[in-house]
Amino acid sequence: MIEVIDLCKSFGQLEVLRHVNMRVAEGEVVCIIGPSGSGKSTLLRCLNLLEQPTGGEVIIDGVSLMDKKTNINEVRQKVGMVFQLFNLFPHKTALENITMGPIKVKRMSKQAAEELGRTLLAKVGLSDKADVYPHQLSGGQQQRVAIARALAMQPKVMLFDEPTSALDPEMVGEVLAVMKDLAREGMTMVVVTHEMGFAREVGDRVIFLDEGRIVEEGKPHEIFSQPREERTRAFLSKIL
């Protein structure tokens, strides 16, 4: 589903990603962990070209993102993204946030989009919040609307960039629950997270990124119980 080959990304002199190789199979849930500044967000953002890679190749569902002929807007419809700070549209209600993509990008009728929107709101447990504006919602609720917004485009892959790290602790669970459901339904997911419980329980694979390189990857229990690399061990001892 996702293939990353020799991906490099620099901001000026700063090399943020150094020759990253990674594959994500259909239906797989891959969790990316690593210290702050290690390039996790940048890696994720290269997967839908919010950042333009400086080298290498990214292939999503058989389509090369680096190919000049690729219509990036079409690829992005297949790749949903959930942001750390939700980034809901504050001038739109929860339902309008969800229906905007289908209506404007897929040219779906308003009625069909609203039906889809309500189904998705129910799925994330917010049926009663359709007509509420983002600022009237708690952080956890906002993030669930943001997940529904991304799902409304019926993506094949979902990218999550620390979806719970801006939330109060008591709201983390509700968001992770929605993500678990999604994983169970077979969604392909790449999740940058510090929630080791989630990675252990839901992740098929964990990737440890440090200084723009994949230092170690493997099954969650392998990485968490017997990390092979010293750097992984050091990182894990700090956060566990």
Partner: protein
Amino acid sequence: METVIRTFPVLLVGAGITLGITLISVANGCVLGLIAGLARLSKRRFLSFLATCYVDFFRGTPLLVQILIVYFGIPYLLDALQKYLMAHYGIPRLFSSTDIPRFWAAVLACSLNSGAYIAEIFRAGVQSIERGQMEAARSLGMTHSQAMRYVILPQAFRRIIPPLGNEFIAMLKDTSLLSVIGFEELLRRGQLIVGETFAVFEIYITVAFLYLIMTLSFSRLVDYTERRLKTRDRSY
């Protein structure tokens, strides 16, 4: 005092003209400003360069000079051009007189000036929207212009209402400069009355008072609109 009462209707019409020319200029300025503001933000270097030149020129030179250039300078230039074409290429004159009517000169100068200020207001408004909004919209597959139209501009418009109101008030006062080309707005009418009646103090104070009523009521209106938008949606 009777002078004031007797001539008040004339001044009132002048105030109406001042208000009208301001409304027209700021409305044109909004269109010009939106175009120039977005052009300045454009990745196309040439477009953004052109817009920068426009904005810099009209913000960096006095409106008074701009009015004089439009009213006296442009007709002179056109006339010279026609003479040149006639003399060298035998092209007949297109206009018998190249004079611009005062009204159109006034509209042109004030609109161009207002457009430059409003371009900066739009630009600042768009730039004040968090980067995450554009990214969220693009990640749904929207094109850059769709994201601008449905996500960025609607939010930016609400934020620029106060500075746009200030621009309107500034322009309303600055239209008094149009008196130098004899355009009969409020101040010019006051000057003409003073010329006849010599009631210098009374007339000018009345003129000032009329400007004040217009600017104060308009700033109240802006405050009110702003408050209403805020209560409807507290996140702004």
